[in-house]
């Protein structure tokens, strides 16, 4: 990033969309969560959702849930000029950080829920980095619309 570039942190359960080439959408230190990175290259439009849980089960409209975050992200992308036929997604996260304890592999459940919800809305996933047991940071520079970078502890960022 250049000196004037701005990192937009997408916190737990948030959805952010940007067309500003000085901005970089960022999910930092995600474990079982999923960063959904969506873009419309023709419009130079990028969006990111930080999904925490797979299903809302009617418990509210929070975008921390995959089944709420996906439609919201699509809505926000279209509202900013994105066209549904051009929207494309890359996803990262869904790690199983703890191998002890109940609750099952929430990271895997998140991955499945995000993949299914994107498919149901006709959005193609062109690249993904999910699962494993390591935390990730995910960045999406708007100036390089379509490019997504994933970083783990002790490693250089790699393009997704």
């Amino acid at each position: 990033m250049g000196i004037e570039d701005k990192s937009i942190i997408v916190n737990l359960g948030e959805v952010r969309v940007s067309k500003d080439p000085k901005e970089t959408l960022t999910c930092l230190g995600i474990g079982s969560c999923i960063a959904i990175c969506m873009y419309d290259m023709e419009r130079g439009l990028c969006g990111m959702a930080h999904v925490v849980l797979p299903e809302s089960n009617g418990s509210g409209a929070s975008t921390k849930y995959a089944d709420v975050a996906v439609p919201q992200l699509i809505h926000d992308m279209r509202h900013r000029g994105g066209h549904i036929s051009r929207l494309t997604a890359k996803i990262a996260g869904g790690a199983q950080m703890a191998t002890v304890g109940g609750g099952g592999d929430i990271g895997n459940k998140n991955s499945i829920a995000v993949t299914e919800n994107l498919a149901q809305n006709g959005i193609k996933i062109v690249s993904s980095d999910v699962g494993g047991h390591r935390g990730r940071s995910v960045t999406m520079p708007v100036a390089q619309c379509g490019k997504v970078f994933v970083k783990t502890i002790g490693e250089q960022p790699r393009e997704l």
Binding site: N11, L12, G13, E14, L28, G29, I30, G31, S32, C33, V52, L53, S59, K64, A95, M97, A98, T99, V100, G101, G102, G103, I106, R134, G135, R136, S137, I153
Partner: protein, 209 residues
């Protein structure tokens, strides 16, 4: 009726419960190490889940976490989180090493930290079992070195099904000649709080003293 949130359980009762649990955990650690260990808890506070990472210098900061899940009796999480250098100090304390001996977390160091998690988790839960008559069973401890956000994710995904905020408190592990400061997070799930509230309702105030 949905599960309780921590806000609905009296904060003062929760503070007493956690304090009593950590005093019991300190007695377990003292036995393990063969010398007196004091655990001091202070500054219990409510924070937004999304702000929890700031406690560690941000979600991308490398930390060492000792994680114990509550497997039986109720759902919940116990998490001890330290910057690496502080975790090394804890290892030195556990292994009775001279200061600054530990410089990385290998197999032996991981085992020492896991044992601390085991003792703290078991004695903490035993204390709560004494008060409630309910047997809480901890899982084996897991030691993790990773981004703070990713480690906290373990508990937050569970907690965030019920609430968007959580309670944390600072802790200090202290022996005669060493003092190790870190964060001790006891993150109760909804059904854990239901049990605690039900117990208080049925039997009067829990005698935390």
């Amino acid at each position: 009726m949905g599960s309780k949130t921590l806000e609905q359980v009296e904060l003062s009762d929760w503070t007493k419960l956690v304090t009593k649990g950590t005093v019991n955990a300190a007695s377990g650690l003292s036995r393990m190490l063969g010398r007196e260990v004091k655990i001091t808890c202070f500054n219990l506070r409510k924070i937004m889940a999304s702000e929890a990472f700031d406690l560690f210098g941000g979600p991308e900061t490398l930390v060492v976490g000792i994680y114990v899940s509550i497997a039986e009796g109720a759902d919940g999480h116990i998490l001890l989180v330290y910057p690496p250098k502080i975790a090394y100090g804890l290892v030195d304390m556990a292994m009775d090493n001279p200061d600054d001996t530990t410089t990385e977390i290998g197999e032996d160091e991981e085992s020492a930290l896991a044992e601390i998690g085991n003792i703290v988790g078991s004695f903490f839960l035993n204390s709560m079992a004494d008060d409630t008559g309910i047997r809480f069973q901890p899982t084996p401890p897991q030691v993790l070195q990773d981004m703070a956000g990713a480690i906290l994710n373990i508990a937050l995904t569970d907690i965030m099904q019920y609430a968007d905020d959580l309670f944390v408190m600072d802790t200090t592990f202290e022996t005669e000649d060493k003092k190790i400061s870190g964060l001790f997070l006891v993150l109760p799930s909804g059904n854990f709080l239901d049990i605690m509230t039900k117990h208080a309702d049925e039997y009067g105030k829990v005698s935390w003293e």
